[in-house]
Symmetry: C2
Subunit: 155 residues, 2 copies
DNA sequence: GACATCTGTAACCGCCACGATTACATATTC
DNA sequence: GAATATGTAATCGTGGCGGTTACAGATGTC
């Protein structure tokens, strides 16, 4: 898969929803915060909904809500909902089967990719939307005093 | 950054070099094994050389050699040599600064990206080219009987 | 029931990064 | 000097992504 900002947008969206819990938030409003087109938001929300992280309601007074409490939404789950894009890509053409390396490298790389991806997922899963929102709240109250997030939290 | 096969190609190249240690291997031969164009190989080799993982020699009887022993080349180092491409991308346009989330999300995401990337690098660094080559040798000798390497994976 | 509101998608565009390729300069061996 | 190889610039085709328009479908309000 390729690099994209879907994960960044998804975390952004979920953070807004966490701050407006129990209100239906429209894709127009979310698009205004993320600064993009509402359709882009809806595409991401659609994926989040299929993953069971949000619920949507059509029609007047509809919109998007969190399906779980913020502390129960890990960033790993968000990443998975976005299809777990990886920075890895395998060989485009089949390698030379006459070469011992060519015969075996694809399977070996697959295993490497899988375990690396699992490590990345683990790291993301140590944080939740609640952690993100907590950092936002802190930095919003105090004068510009950049602080780091607390790295260890459960998911 | 985007997803690409440079890492896959690099591991492939280094594995071939490990099996032909102390011989100068040409980009033509490597291209034959990877099944791509020699120039693609040279671009990757150039990056590997800048990272100090291989040496190259111009002219007749020249070619590419490993600069370190295979067990001293971790896959993390290879990934870094390729520029550590990430699957993450941040917001393309600045988010709405009037929104608390918009004001803070970029910094927070940067921190998340950095730590996730570190976890990925750690996972890759637990393996070396020697590990890869060992797997290749095993699978080449015996009939299709995939095994070996830390985690389990079948074929 | 008519209307306004809001999600859900399909369709299309422009952009950009990547792999593949051609071409040529440069360096080394024999 | 001929043959061999790397080093690199330039160009092309492809694919994926964000952005946008357009419209169908669902839902609450009056």
């Amino acid at each position: 898969m390729a690099a994209n900002c879907r994960f960044a947008f998804a975390v952004h969206i979920l953070s807004v929803l966490a701050l407006k819990e129990n209100e239906g938030v429209t894709s127009d409003l979310l698009a205004g915060s993320v600064n993009t087109n509402p359709v882009v938001i809806r595409r991401i929300v659609s994926a989040l909904q299929q993953a069971g992280l949000v619920t949507t309601a059509k029609g007047a007074r509809g919109g998007v809500k969190l399906a779980l409490s913020p502390e129960n939404i890990s960033l790993g789950a968000v990443h998975r909902a976005m299809g777990s894009p990886t920075s890895f890509a395998g060989h485009r053409h089949e390698p030379n089967q006459k070469c011992p390396v060519g015969r075996n490298i694809v399977l070996i790389l697959n295993e490497v990719f899988t375990s690396a991806q699992a490590a990345l997922d683990d790291a993301l899963s140590r944080r939740s939307i609640a952690d993100v929102v907590a950092t936002i709240s802190l930095e919003s109250e105090a004068p510009p005093r950049a602080k780091k997030m607390s790295p260890r939290r459960a998911a």
